[in-house]
């Protein structure tokens, strides 16, 4: 090898060495990015969820933590605040008809997604589902009647109408467990808490210990609800929901005369860590 060849080779090696150094320097970052991309489930990806911890468990996406300052906008359902939060696509089924005349199951259910964040000791859940119809009952009209108060402050309107609603069900005994409560509103030995939003009546905290036992607990639950272009977006703020607590969801479409047990419901999931 001649001196010039050596110098050419050395210069080539020097240039290659620089590139190599750059590659070596950037490799950890590339590896970190790749791992991050692989670990975050794509929003809207049908049925894709993180690998279950145990066979048969349906986990919700991992729960992210947010600072206290974000609580207000998250609670209000601000789209920007929820933008980066991973979502789980729920598997919903329609309950069978109970009475003659109840609408049959058409085999479809509204696309529904759930996102979960923790803020301090609260668990904030945003449930978004598609529902073309806004089933609000139109407000009654009253004429001013100068000189006298009407006996009735408002006139009934939607006597045959039902409104939209959503419910989050968690066992009263929170935390991981070997056996889930009965999906039909829990059981006598395994009661459940029902965090319920009704389009007309607002947010309610109900309890149940089996079918047809739903009753008010007397407590209040915080949340917000808003329409988006294709449906509803409802946020619940819950407390005391430990990781791996079983959780289930139900959605009612008022225009399909859904109420009581006539609804779309999900199996038991588990709140992520």
């Amino acid at each position: 090898m001649t001196g010039s060849e050596k110098s050419r080779g050395s210069r080539a090696l020097a240039r290659g060495g620089a590139w190599r150094d750059l590659v070596l320097a950037g490799l950890p970052m590339v590896l970190i990015c790749a791992a991050t991309i692989a670990s975050v489930p794509l929003a809207g990806a049908a049925g894709e969820s993180p690998a279950p911890a145990e066979p048969g468990v349906l986990p919700l996406s991992s729960v992210e933590h947010r600072p206290s300052e974000a609580a207000q906008s998250l609670r209000a359902g601000d789209a920007k605040a929820w933008e980066e939060v991973p979502e789980t696509v729920l598997k919903l089924n329609r309950t069978p008809p109970l009475y003659d005349g109840d609408p049959m199951d058409r085999g479809t259910s509204p696309p529904t997604r759930v996102a979960v964040v923790r803020v301090d000791s609260s668990l904030l859940l945003r449930i978004q589902w598609e529902d073309d119809s806004d089933d609000a009952i139109p407000p009654p009209r009253r004429l001013p009647d100068v000189g006298a108060d009407g006996i009735y402050k408002q006139h009934s309107r939607g006597l045959d109408q039902f409104t939209d609603a959503v419910c989050v069900m968690v066992p009263r005994e929170r935390g991981p467990r070997q056996q889930y409560p009965p999906l039909m509103m829990g059981g006598r030995e395994d009661p459940v808490d029902l965090f319920y939003w009704h389009q007309e009546r607002g947010f309610q905290w109900l309890g149940a210990h089996g079918r047809a036992s739903t009753a008010s607990t007397g407590h209040e639950v915080e949340g917000s609800a808003r329409r988006w272009e294709r449906g509803w977006s409802v946020v619940f703020e819950l407390t005391g929901v430990a990781p791996r607590t079983p959780i289930s969801f139900a959605v009612w479409n008022g225009s399909e005369q859904q109420r009581d047990g006539l609804k779309y419901y999900s199996p038991w999931y588990e709140v992520g860590r």
Partner: protein, 443 residues
């Protein structure tokens, strides 16, 4: 089954349609939020569409297999729009415009008052006051998935537990008489409570108390001294509405047979009835013919100088005659034999859960239950009556004037002579209205 059963008898020969009972109930119970459209007691003209409109064709009750019969849920238009009147402009602002409803209604409760039917240029109608029937086998109780409806053991009054009710309205659909009302403000359903707080204090129902016609009789069905027991079980001159619905109602009606038709001149009511017997059979069942015959006999007895206990009861001059209430302390066991008498009178299968089919069909009524056997005059139910729709003969009998102009195929019934009426615009708009899933031809 409840230990005792309060019941009411209404003599349709005495009702003048004054609506005092309606207002008595309204002021007593249904002047709260969400109750604007409710009339727990209402009085309607028959033949007619009633309140809610077409209620007797909407379905509900039980079928022959004791399954809950499907029904439509009435909407606000079926109950009638709540009307507003701007009195202030006339009384206080001196504008002088007439006080008119704020909108041009097409239906309200008692919309077809006094319209009735026509028979060869003779109009006919009668008034039918209605309350919850507090049935022995309530379809509403069966239908409620939360078991929010219960029948009081001490007196058989049917009530809705306001703590348990969540306004699902399966009961509204199940009731064949459409006497349960949904309160939109409270999110619960409500109904006639038979004025049980008044009864418990020894005071009769508000509707009965205020009735100027003295048409109502109140008492325990199983109390042999009560007027309802005598009229329903002993003399058998009062019948429940739509017995084929299978709920065994405990509000009974003495069928209208008076006054007679113009030019009656000694002919029997059954030969020349003012009201079509087909329509009375449609409302009260085939036994109505027997009952009218018996009433005529009693009237003849009294007119010829004899003494008729039935007529003395029905005149009901005194509150002591019309009402016999029992205090809670007095409600011991019913006298022996009375329960069997009630069962024999109202054959009813056992309650079934969630509309499941009963093991055996209901037993037919006994052939001879009273003095003399008039069973040969009892005609079988007409075809079509069991599915909740009026038989064809009924549609033809009372023509269109009482029915808002609708017939089976939407065209005026032949021979009805309908030249159009105030209901005619509603006929056209009704048939052009937005079709509902189980839209009924309610006349």
């Amino acid at each position: 089954m409840s230990r005792h059963q309060y019941a009411m008898v209404m003599d349709l020969n005495k009702c003048i349609g004054c609506q005092t009972c309606t207002l008595a109930c309204k002021k007593q119970w249904t002047d709260g939020d969400g109750m604007d459209y409710m009339y727990w007691n209402n009085v309607e003209t028959h033949p007619g569409i009633g309140y809610p409109r077409g209620w007797h064709t909407l379905g509900g009750g039980f079928d022959e297999k004791r399954k809950l019969r499907p029904s439509k849920l009435p909407d606000k238009a079926d109950y009638g729009e709540t009307l507003e009147y701007d009195y202030g402009q006339r009384l206080f602002q001196g504008k002088g415009k007439p006080v008119m409803p704020h909108t041009d209604p097409s239906y309200t409760p008692n919309w077809d008052e006094d319209v009735g039917g026509w028979d060869q240029d003779n109009p006919y109608f009668f008034y039918l006051p209605r309350i919850c029937n507090h049935c022995t086998h309530p379809a509403c109780l069966e239908a409620c998935p939360r078991k929010a409806i219960y029948k009081r053991e001490e007196d058989g009054i049917v009530l809705i537990d306001q703590e348990r009710c969540r306004g699902y309205r399966y009961c509204v659909k199940a009731c064949p008489y459409k006497k349960i009302y949904y309160n939109e403000v409270l999110g619960r359903s409500e109904k006639c409570i038979f004025c049980y707080p008044r009864l418990e204090k020894g005071r009769v129902n508000a509707c009965a108390s205020q009735c100027p016609g003295r048409i109502r009789f109140v008492g325990l069905l199983d109390d042999p001294q009560s007027p309802v027991h005598k009229l329903v079980l002993e003399h058998e001159v009062a019948l429940g509405l739509f017995p084929e619905k299978g709920t065994s109602p405990n509000v009974y009606y003495v069928p209208p047979f008076q006054p007679p038709k113009a030019g009656h001149a000694g002919r029997s009511i059954l030969e020349d009835p003012r009201l079509p017997l087909d329509y009375l059979k449609y409302l009260l069942g085939p036994r109505v013919v027997d009952v009218i015959e018996r009433l005529e006999e009693e009237l003849s007895l009294a007119q010829s100088g004899g003494r008729s206990e039935v007529l003395q009861l029905l005149i009901g001059r005194d509150e002591n005659v019309r009402y016999r209430l029992a205090s809670r302390d007095e409600m011991g066991e019913a006298p022996a034999g009375v329960e069997q008498q009630i069962e024999a009178h109202e054959p009813g299968p056992d309650l079934t859960l969630m509309g499941s089919a009963h093991a055996s069909p209901p037993s037919p009524p006994p052939e001879a239950r009273r003095k003399g056997d008039h069973s040969s005059r009892v005609s079988p139910p007409e075809k079509g009556a069991s599915d909740g729709r009026p038989p064809e003969s009924v549609r033809q009998a009372f023509g269109l004037a009482a029915l808002g102009g609708l017939a089976v195929d939407g065209e005026p019934a032949p021979g009805s002579g309908c030249d159009g009426c105030s209901l005619a615009p509603d006929c056209a708009s009704r048939s052009d209205s937005v079709p509902r899933e189980d839209d009924h031809d309610w006349f």
